[in-house]
């Protein structure tokens, strides 16, 4: 059976070109970049090149790129490293819709006595910037706001937020794992201090990420040990992963147009056809400021896991904000923060596309969706009733 992969916000396939450049670094060029011999040294050269490739995509200086093991590590390092560098400041500002890699860290900080503020969002998932501005003060150590939401694709105006925050002498961090490679970003034009990205979200391998640290930003290292990454992140480099990520960044720049034209058109087609073909469905998120590859649609009266299983039978991979899929009992914290009613939150499905998707795949899915939704609604006791 064919696989139709619409779950690219969860992870992506490694690009062939990326896989190809990674291969020699397992069995042939396996030297340690820190070694004094030529054999290891040549590997160090490739790591440096990869750093330049990442910097080129981000519009920053290669010296501002720190390789980590994943987006989660980058997030933890950014937040905890900043707090360690400004120990007298005790306030942390974030949002209710962050990825757990940020939210869980912040909630833990709260238990350790920090004053943590989680900004709410409106029905479309947007922040109130005036509210944010009113909360900034001399006690604020860091503001961490994601660039784009993984579940709904809603994009936050991080450039404006960065200006507002950094003007007050406060460190600004953004978890940008979903936006890098999908929407152009130029760090030389915004005062963002810290930015996290993750390799496997942009067709590089799992197990490699980046923390961008703007020159002059005060941050303490998180992993201590050797002098790798200029002493800012100890641990022997994941060379194949890093080399692959460099290539993936180069490709991302090349496909940026494709992402925002062809992929976006596929997303739009999928979305409007599903909305037209399935009654009582609606989009979650801000339709105007949204990642080009993501759509999150709620189907009333039915439950997401059941929809996913039906899709799975046709080889279609998507994800859901329903409680049942995560093993937790409550639906997505993002949808709840947006005030999406329970009736719709349990039945939400996210489709996230990539440059590997085709029109045929979209057409096939468009054809299958209505019958799946209809079938499950036949089983539902709520159809035809007033929403609870």
């Amino acid at each position: 059976m064919q696989t139709i992969y619409f779950d690219n916000n969860a992870t992506t396939r490694v690009a062939d070109e990326v896989f190809e450049v990674m291969q020699p670094y397992f069995c042939e060029l396996y030297g340690n970049p820190s070694s004094m011999h030529t054999f290891g040294g040549q590997v160090g050269v490739r790591v440096r090149e990869a750093r330049e490739q990442v910097a080129a995509l981000l519009g920053c200086h290669p010296g501002e790129v720190i390789f980590t093991s994943c987006g989660t590590e980058s997030d933890s390092t950014a937040i905890l490293g900043t707090l360690a560098a400004v120990p007298h400041r005790r306030k942390v500002i974030t949002t209710r819709v962050e990825h757990p890699a940020v939210l869980t860290v912040c909630r833990d900080l709260e238990n350790r006595g920090y004053h943590v503020i989680e900004l709410g969002v409106d029905k479309q998932g947007r922040l109130d910037l005036d509210e944010l501005e009113s909360l900034l003060d001399d006690d604020t150590a860091i503001v961490t706001v994601m660039a784009a939401n993984n579940e709904t694709g809603t994009i936050f105006p991080i450039e404006r937020i960065a200006e507002m925050v950094t003007e007050r002498g406060i460190t600004f961090h953004t978890d940008a794992v979903q936006i890098v490679g999908k929407v152009p970003l130029n760090l030389s034009e915004t005062p963002i201090h810290l930015l996290s990205l993750s390799g496997h979200k942009l067709h590089a391998a799992k197990g490699v990420g980046v923390l961008y640290v703007r020159k002059g930003t005060r941050i303490a290292p998180f992993l201590l040990g050797g002098h790798q990454e200029g002493g800012r992140r100890a641990g022997t480099e994941n060379v194949p992963g890093i080399v692959g990520l460099g290539k993936a960044c180069e490709l991302a720049a090349r496909y940026m147009d494709d992402e925002n034209t062809r992929v976006k058109a596929l997303r739009d087609k999928l979305e409007s056809a599903i909305l037209a073909g399935c009654p009582d469905s609606r989009i979650n998120g801000d339709p105007e400021n949204r990642l080009p590859n993501t759509t999150n649609i709620s189907f009333e009266y039915i439950e997401g896991e059941a929809i996913l299983l039906m899709l799975d039978r046709f080889g279609i991979c998507a994800s859901s904000g329903s409680a049942c899929t995560s093993g937790s009992l409550e639906p997505s914290h993002v949808l709840r923060a947006m005030g999406v009613p329970f009736t719709a939150a349990h039945g939400s499905i996210r489709y996230s596309l990539s440059r590997y998707n085709t029109e045929d795949e979209v057409d096939f899915t468009i054809e299958k969706m209505p019958q799946i939704i209809e079938r499950l609604r036949e089983l539902s006791p709520f159809v035809g009733q007033v929403s609870v």
């Binding site: 709260e110 238990n111 006595g113 004053h115 503020i117 989680e118 900004l119 709410g120 969002v121 409106d122 109130d128 509210e131 909360l135 009266y301 039915i302 439950e303 997401g304 896991e305 059941a306 299983l309 039906m310 039978r313 329903s322 409680a323 049942c324 899929t325 093993g327 937790s328 009992l329 409550e330 639906p331 005030g339 329970f342 009736t343 349990h346 036949e378 089983l379 539902s380 006791p381 709520f382 929403s387 609870v388």
Partner: protein, 293 residues
């Protein structure tokens, strides 16, 4: 991804007895949209008092649909007394097992059956009535229901209770009470591995007391407030006087301030010391106001 048995998949993809019987003899409705699953069971009796037909409608995940389907198969042909003996375990066993976290689906099946039989016996159509007092407000689960799943399935941890009836799966504010229920029923069986909960000691040093207060706030109080969009901050401790500030509450929440303070005081007295007095620091409230509609 969940690992479902072939039986579960079969009953999900090809559910038996879907629908609603008109003029049913018994109607049982449990669950709600908010909870993420709901089941409406209807049955008709034949002249010998056996279940001639049973149908279901279910909102929920694959295992909720599969358990409902199996339930209707299991009770057909049974007298009401026989049907009453069908347990959630029978349903799960018939399916070749369910993932632990999905056991509550089988419990929902059994509850719907009971509700339908009660409806037949009591006449009028009513939702499954709550007995006992609500322990878990997040999912509206009562002590009686919790006791029952603990007994019938020999459960020993809060996590298991959550898997079987959802209680404890939200804010976590009810974990303490669920633990007490488990201890009461299972007695010694659980005492040795009960997870560490803050406990009142005999004589606490000042530092120990402060830590215990912080721990109690973190584990027993904050989760419940969080579930309702609020929060609490520990401002100061002076002897037995504990000063806290409430955050993220809207105007309506502030009307209820005095009760909030009382709740905190009760918890701290329970877990730390009888002499604790809680005061609210109102000056720092404005600043942390983050409530949004």
């Amino acid at each position: 991804m969940w690992e479902y048995t072939d039986k579960v998949r079969d009953h999900f993809f090809n559910p038996r007895n879907v629908g609603e019987i008109e003029n049913a003899d018994g109607v049982g409705e449990v669950g709600s949209l908010a909870c993420g699953d709901a089941l409406k069971l209807t049955f008709k009796l034949d002249k010998d008092g056996r279940i001639a037909d049973a149908k279901f409608k279910t909102f929920g995940c694959a295992s909720a649909i599969a358990t409902s389907s199996v339930l209707t198969e299991l009770i057909r042909g049974k007298t009401l007394d026989e049907a009453m003996n069908v347990t959630n375990k029978d349903i799960a066993d018939y399916l070749g097992g369910l993932p632990e976290q999905k056991m509550h689906c089988s419990v929902m099946g059994r509850e719907a059956l009971e509700a339908a039989i009660a409806n037949y016996q009591g006449g009028e159509v009513k939702k499954h009535e709550l007995e006992g007092h609500v322990v878990c407000t997040c999912f509206g689960v009562t002590d009686v229901e919790i006791e029952r799943v603990v007994r019938e399935n020999d459960l020993t941890t809060v996590e298991q209770v959550t898997n079987y009836c959802k209680a404890g799966g939200g804010c976590g504010g009810c974990h303490g009470e669920i633990e007490k229920i488990i201890e009461r029923i299972q007695g010694e069986k659980v005492a040795p591995h009960a997870p560490p909960v803050p406990r009142k000691g005999k004589k606490l040093t000042n530092i120990q007391k402060m830590q215990l207060i912080q721990q109690t706030i973190n584990e027993q109080i904050r989760p419940a407030l969080r579930a309702h969009g609020g929060n609490i901050e520990l401002i100061d401790i002076e002897g037995d006087k504990v000063t806290v500030a409430f955050r993220g509450m809207c105007a309506q929440c502030h009307l209820a301030e005095f009760t909030m303070k009382d709740v905190v005081e009760t918890k701290l007295r329970e877990f730390v010391s009888e002499d604790i007095v809680v005061e609210e620091d109102k000056d720092s409230v404005e600043e942390g106001h983050v409530h949004k509609g």
